[in-house]
């Protein structure tokens, strides 16, 4: 009760304000002071912001180069304009923050939010201004503000720490007045910052400034119109899609095989080796045993198809390049096919006894640096899309294989036994029980692989696959900043999009029951209360 009387803004404003600062600085978060203050008069926030405006104006008037206001004029004019700009800027940005918080489900009101934010802003803003001001006075260069060996670096670090602490305070304040989770408060701040950045970027284009962002955009538009950028994007897209589709098929089959019990070799099983024989014939027929003409024939035919289809194909053109590259290497296809069918047959025979070794080998493959693997594959597979696709498929194997294996092994044995005991065949058990229950885990593996492939496909440009990596490598070698940043940005956006899309798919394939079970784990907060 006594405390409430103490906070009446009309009776003792200044001591109250100072007391508020001290409280905010020393007891962040859960203290009663903030909660009580959140209910107080809007006048408090106005007075707080005015104090801040006063400080900014003083700084602007004495230094001559105010942070928000660059107009020249008489000292009183600069003083007044800066004062109002500071206050208006506060209320405007505060309003935006309020809108963002309302949209994200906060429950508080604008007045109390202004009130609390002013209490944070005034002390932190004043300290920041002071640091800047003293920095100016001592003639420090801000260019190397983060060089820890220089004095300005130390000051810069101080500013950085202060800003981080201020941000933390703001999050705490928002949590209190709006009763939102800490995560929403952080997102609200990020959204506001993002909106500001977009606004600034838009201004760059309106004013036709020459900045990195405008140069990137111009470069992108130019590349897009020339048709090179769409080709690189499609090349990247089809390469990743082709590799992941093959990797998923092979990875899931292998992953399933190593969960099954071993099979005794029987004459009937030899049917499984028919593909092996077919691949052997393909290899033998096209690697010179029956004369070199066959290979040359296929090569020239696919090349002429490719040319025709590339000219008319458009969207599928780059897919045809990849398929063409694959078809053009029949001997290599025969060899790889033989290898994979042999592995398939061995895994079928040994089943779960081979699981440890298989996962081990897939793990080793993943540790090979991609550049090295591409290099190693050049002698047998040549350069270009085929080599790239083969390496990508190898890389994508492990996460899919391992997650298929663990996903199936983690299905409760009682459930599997119930299915078996009710008369499901092993195939029915796999398709109706094991795979649906393992689907979310398998999907995670596919998601991880796919995002990884988007990155590695960029590196494949090094061995002549036409992907977005082309922009990165030529950009680096020609020291063209816009070129490699554009390439890297598009690859990053591509990876994020893939991750988001597959995350959505994963949500769809997760059985309801499993979602319920994992709900609690999902609800963990970024910040603890």
């Amino acid at each position: 009760m006594a405390r409430e009387r103490h906070f009446e803004p009309t009776s003792a404003f200044l001591p109250d304000l100072i007391n508020g600062w001290v409280q905010v600085l020393t007891r962040p978060g859960q203290n009663e002071y903030l909660v009580q203050h959140a209910r107080s008069n809007p006048l408090t926030s106005f007075l707080g912001v005015s104090t801040f405006g006063l400080l900014v104006s003083l700084y602007a008037a004495t230094d001559g180069s105010p942070p928000f206001y660059a107009a020249q004029g008489s000292t009183p004019a600069v003083f007044l304009i800066t004062f109002f700009l500071a206050a208006a800027g506060f209320y405007l940005s505060n309003f935006l923050l309020y809108l963002v918080l309302k949209i994200s489900g906060g429950s508080g009101n604008y007045t109390s939010q202004s009130n609390l934010l002013s209490l944070v802003l005034v002390p932190f803003g004043s300290i920041l201004l002071l640091v800047f001001f003293t920095g100016r006075v001592f003639g420090l260069e801000w260019g190397d503000a983060f060089n820890p060996l220089s004095l300005s670096g130390l000051v810069g670090a101080l500013v950085f720490l202060l800003a981080a602490y201020a941000l933390y305070q703001v999050v705490q304040c928002l949590k209190i007045v709006h009763q939102v989770r800490a995560v929403s408060a952080v997102y609200a701040l990020l959204a506001l910052a993002g909106a500001g950045a977009l606004l600034r970027a838009a201004l760059m284009f309106v004013n036709q400034e020459d900045t990195l962002i405008t140069r990137l955009w111009t470069f992108f538009v130019q590349q897009w119109n020339s048709g090179i950028m769409p080709r690189a994007i499609l090349g990247h897209f089809w390469l990743v899609l082709f590799s992941i589709v093959v990797a998923v098929l092979v990875g899931i089959v292998f992953g399933v095989l190593i969960t099954l019990p071993a099979h005794r070799p029987r004459a009937a099983n030899l049917v499984l080796l028919i593909p092996f024989v077919l691949f052997f014939i393909l290899w033998a027929a096209t690697s010179g045993w029956f004369g070199p003409d066959a290979a040359a024939q296929i090569d020239s035919t696919t090349r002429s198809w490719e040319r025709i289809l590339r000219n008319t194909g458009g969207f599928f053109g780059e897919l045809l390049v990849i398929l063409g590259a694959v078809v053009r290497k029949p001997a290599a296809i025969g060899m790889i096919g033989m290898g994979w069918t042999a592995i398939f047959y061995l895994l079928y025979l040994f089943g779960d006894r081979a699981s440890a070794l298989t996962l081990y080998i897939a793990g080793i493959i993943l540790t090979i640096p991609s550049i090295a693997l591409f290099g190693v594959l050049i002698p047998p597979l040549g350069v270009g899309a085929f080599n790239a696709a083969f390496a990508l498929i190898l890389y994508a194997q492990l996460p899919i294989l391992r997650n298929t294996y663990t996903g199936i092994m983690e299905v409760e044995p009682e459930i599997v036994e119930a299915g078996r005991g009710m008369g499901m065949t092993e195939l029915q058990l796999l398709l109706r029980v094991k795979l649906p229950l393992a689907a979310p885990v398998i999907m995670t593996g596919i998601r991880v692989s796919c995002v990884m492939l988007v990155g590695i496909a960029a590196i494949a440009a090094y061995i002549g696959a036409f992907t977005l990596g082309e922009y990165i490598f030529t950009g680096i070698s020609r020291a063209q900043e816009v070129r490699y940043i554009t390439g890297a940005l598009i690859v990053a956006v591509f990876a994020l999009a893939v991750d988001y899309l597959l995350g959505w798919v994963q949500e769809r394939v997760t059985p309801l029951a499993l979602k319920e079970r994992h709900k609690k784990q999902k609800d963990t907060e970024l910040f603890s209360e």
Binding site: E412, E417, G421, G423, R517
Partner: protein, 382 residues
């Protein structure tokens, strides 16, 4: 009918058999319980019937579609399993399927059409006292007891003649377990399935079974007989220890009060003259008697000396009391209630509270004494 003939199971790499030349026959329509300490091979025995585990030696016979006995090893295991109901310990409902889909598992494998499956599922839910709205729920939305009911319903879906139940009520709290046991017994009265039931709990075995098969570690059959015979006449020391020192009390579980009650007790009517009632009781040397209304329902009791030299009717002097015990109660529960309420004599009623008979502590003692004469005499010490 399930017939075991010298069935032995030796797991690869182990010297001792898990099940050692087991021979017994479960008659059609009876519940047979396999019971024993852990490691006695009871679950192995059960799983050999539907070939989840295959016997090393010997043969198990089950009836085929025509009712002829066939060796399970000569039947396709997939076809065999679809015709045998299977309920397991952790229930094993498929978490990604609704209750309907779970019940539909075997019908779908057998290619029933959807309408028929739905009708059957509704029927089964009704049998399990669950409303049809559960059909579209998922297992995680149900309580443990409800899930267990669905587990049983799923096993009954195609009305198989044989049911295998592997500790079906093991993971359920005692109150619900009791309820589910009673429900299953009620269903079994109509269904008359041949049930092989695994449990480690001798009380459950005594309650559920028509026959008990007591097994020892190493898969040896120690005794195969009706619960009453096992309790009154254990074959050896192992069975005696396993059944427990309180087997005399356990025997009371097997007897319903209707079997030993006095079916023609002396009853007084409410409107009977007091003098006449007193004379009757004195003639029969009874100190008290139960009083019934005109509808035959139990109203209370009256003590003889209260009636001495009195005019009026019995209705003026009796003590109102509701001491009826239901006719289907086990003797053990009846005794427990009598001890708790400190009555020497209780009235036995049907479910409409109409008097059916009378039971006294002396009658229970006499019954126990009789079964001990049949059994050996070691019981006196215990």
């Amino acid at each position: 009918m399930i017939k075991f003939e010298n069935v032995t199971k030796i797991y690869p790499g182990l010297a001792k058999p898990a099940v050692d030349s087991l021979s017994f026959t479960v008659p059609s329509g009876e519940i047979c319980t396999l019971v024993g300490p852990s490691g006695c091979g009871k679950t192995t025995t059960l799983k050999m019937v539907n070939r989840l585990i295959e016997p090393t030696q010997g043969a198990i016979y089950v009836p085929n579609g025509n009712g002829d006995l066939v060796n399970v090893m000569e039947v396709n295991p997939i076809q065999l399993r679809r015709k045998i109901g299977y309920v397991i310990q952790q229930i094993g409902l498929f978490p990604h399927w609704t209750i309907f889909e779970n019940i539909a598992t075997v019908p779908r494998l057998l290619g029933w059409d959807n309408d028929r499956i739905r009708r059957r599922a509704e029927e089964l839910l009704e049998m399990m006292n669950m409303s049809p709205e559960y059909m579209d729920r998922y297992p995680h939305e149900l309580s443990g007891g409800q899930r267990q009911r669905i587990g049983v319903a799923r096993a009954l879906a195609v009305d198989p003649p044989i049911m295998l139940m592997d500790e079906p009520f093991g993971a359920i709290d005692p109150i619900n377990r009791n309820l589910l046991q009673n429900e299953f017994l009620r269903l079994q009265k109509e269904m008359k399935k041949t049930v092989l039931f695994v449990t480690h709990d001798i009380d459950e075995a005594i309650k559920m079974s028509d026959r008990i098969c007591i097994m020892n570690v190493g898969g040896r059959l120690e005794q195969y007989d009706t619960p009453a015979a096992i309790l009154s006449n254990p074959a050896n020391e192992f069975v005696e220890n396993f059944v427990g020192a309180d087997r005399a009390l356990k025997q009371l579980n097997l007897i319903r009060v209707e079997e030993i009650m006095d079916t023609a007790p002396v009853l007084l009517q409410l409107d009977q003259p007091a003098a006449e009632a007193w004379a009757l009781l004195r003639e029969r040397e009874l100190r008290s008697a139960f009083v019934v209304g005109p509808d035959g329902r139990l109203r209370g009791y009256v003590v003889r000396r209260e009636l001495r030299d009195k005019t009026g009717t019995v209705g003026d002097y009796f003590t109102r009391a509701d001491m009826g015990i239901e006719i289907s109660t086990t003797l053990r529960d009846a005794l427990s209630e009598m001890l708790a309420m400190d009555y020497n004599t209780v009235c036995i009623v049907d479910n409409h509270n109409r008097v059916q008979g009378m039971l006294s502590i002396e009658m229970i003692q006499k019954k126990i004494a009789e079964s001990n004469v049949n059994g050996d005499d070691q019981e006196n010490g215990a």
